[in-house]
């Protein structure tokens, strides 16, 4: 259902800006808490922007790897059972790409240059 402005991304940004505004009014513990809040909010802003494309890519990669539509739960169970031991390098390449995409949402500054956007 369409909503009026602000959209979700702008709501998150608005609250994050509020954490910055409030910081001078609170003690050291409060400042730390506000920094954590801002950290979570900026992550959520990136997720709103990136999730649709990253979700599609994630599912397509799992389907290609396992030959059918699959979940992280199925991949985890098959890895635990040793069923993919002979495809270790293939699985590593896919998971590294997927985890790098997670980092793109969580904290992109942590990415190695090989995973930075051009």
């Amino acid at each position: 259902m369409p909503q009026h402005r602000p959209d979700l991304a702008e709501i998150l940004r608005t609250v994050r800006e509020l954490t910055v505004e409030l910081a001078p009014q609170v003690d050291a513990k409060g400042k730390y808490d506000l920094r954590v809040a801002a950290y979570l909010l900026v992550m959520a802003e990136r997720e709103v922007a990136l999730a649709p494309a990253l979700d599609r890519k994630h599912h397509a990669q799992l389907e290609k790897l396992l030959g059918h539509p699959a979940t992280d739960g199925e991949l985890s169970a098959r890895l635990r059972a040793g069923e993919l031991d002979d495809r270790f390098d293939d699985v590593l390449a896919v998971l590294l790409d997927q985890v790098a995409d997670s980092v793109r949402v969580v904290k992109p500054s942590q990415l190695d240059p090989i995973h930075q956007e051009p």
Binding site: D72, R80, D85, V91, Q110, D112
Partner: protein
């Protein structure tokens, strides 16, 4: 809370004792820490600065050593001259402060960024790798018969199995952890050493002064196993806090750490085994972050920081996989 602490202190130090200068440091993921002075009223010389640690993480799947066993362990470590906060007394049910214990306060810095970058710690940094090798070698030489109570920790029998069992209890799939576990299964070191392992020896749990290492804190992850686990955990990338060119805790080289350890222990360090424990450490750090998020999500330990831990698990999965891909060292 302070009334109960005062009553607890008076049970041990007499009814004239008072507590002063109470500080609640805002850190620690699984304990409530209170720093305070005890003054018994007779003279200023009787003033002692103490630290109370109260358990806040109470759950069946807790990975942490019960407080009474931590206390016993501190007694053993102190007896063997390992620098650690001297144990003073245990909390009892009548104290109404939950489970925990009180130790002497040791002054110094624990905050990683200050230890690793402030100019005033430059001299300490130059020594910390060697001091770490020495103290760990001495710790690992303590007869395990003196810490037989650590046999109850699952980590004492199957460290990787213990991590995976905990991960399973949090009910969230982590394929990156599973892949790391397969690598660990296939490259398991062939040794059967059984030593006292601190279990959380890393930058952030080392109390450091300008002259170097003062004390080892946070003994709640202790168990028995290969002492090289402690060397690997110290070198795990997450504990370098950005100083990635200094693998030993962000302050030193593996070579200096290993050389000091070999000199004191009398046997060379198997660098491949330490690497195995570094990979294990990355996996374990992911699982610990998943644990914090699970506590926030499902067990009532609500905290924005614990919520962030859940998402930060991706950052450590990334370090784990980049290490398996031989891109990170």
């Amino acid at each position: 809370m302070n009334e109960r602490l005062l009553a607890a202190v008076r049970r041990r130090f007499g009814s004239a004792a008072t507590i002063e200068s109470v500080v609640l440091p805002t850190l620690g993921g699984s304990n409530l820490t209170t720093i305070f002075d005890v003054v018994d009223g007779s003279s200023a010389a009787s003033r002692r600065r103490l630290v109370a640690r109260q358990e806040t993480y109470v759950a069946d799947n807790t990975p942490f050593l019960a407080p009474d066993r931590q206390f016993q362990l501190l007694l053993v470590a102190t007896k063997h001259g390992i620098p650690c906060p001297a144990p003073v007394f245990q909390l009892e049910p009548q104290d109404e402060l939950g489970r925990g214990y009180v130790t002497a306060f040791v002054g110094g810095e624990t905050f990683p960024k200050r230890i690793l970058t402030d100019a005033r710690f430059a001299g300490a940094r130059a020594k910390l790798a060697e001091q770490s090798g020495e103290v760990l070698a001495r710790l690992h030489a303590i007869p395990v018969t003196e810490v037989s109570f650590l046999d109850a920790q699952p980590d004492s029998h199957d460290p990787l199995g213990a991590q995976l069992a905990r991960l399973d209890s949090y009910g969230e799939a982590h394929p990156a952890v599973e892949l790391g576990a397969r690598w660990l299964v296939k490259h398991r070191p062939k040794n059967a050493r059984r030593q006292l392992v601190h279990g959380d020896y890393r930058t952030g749990n080392l109390l450091v002064s300008e002259s170097g290492l003062e004390a080892l804190l946070d003994w709640e992850c202790a168990h028995t196993g290969s002492g090289l686990e402690d060397l690997g955990w110290l070198c795990t990338r997450s504990w370098r806090f950005g100083q990635n060119h200094l693998p030993a805790g962000g302050f030193g080289s593996r070579e200096d750490l290993f050389a000091a350890y070999a000199r004191v222990s009398g046997s060379p360090v198997d660098a491949d085994e330490v690497h195995w424990w570094e990979v294990f450490g990355l996996l374990r750090w992911v699982v610990l972050n998943v644990m914090q998020a699970y506590g926030h999500h499902a067990e009532g330990r609500r905290s924005a920081a614990f919520a962030a831990c859940g998402r930060n698990a991706s950052l450590y999965e990334y370090e784990l996989l980049m290490t398996l891909a031989k891109r990170f060292d």
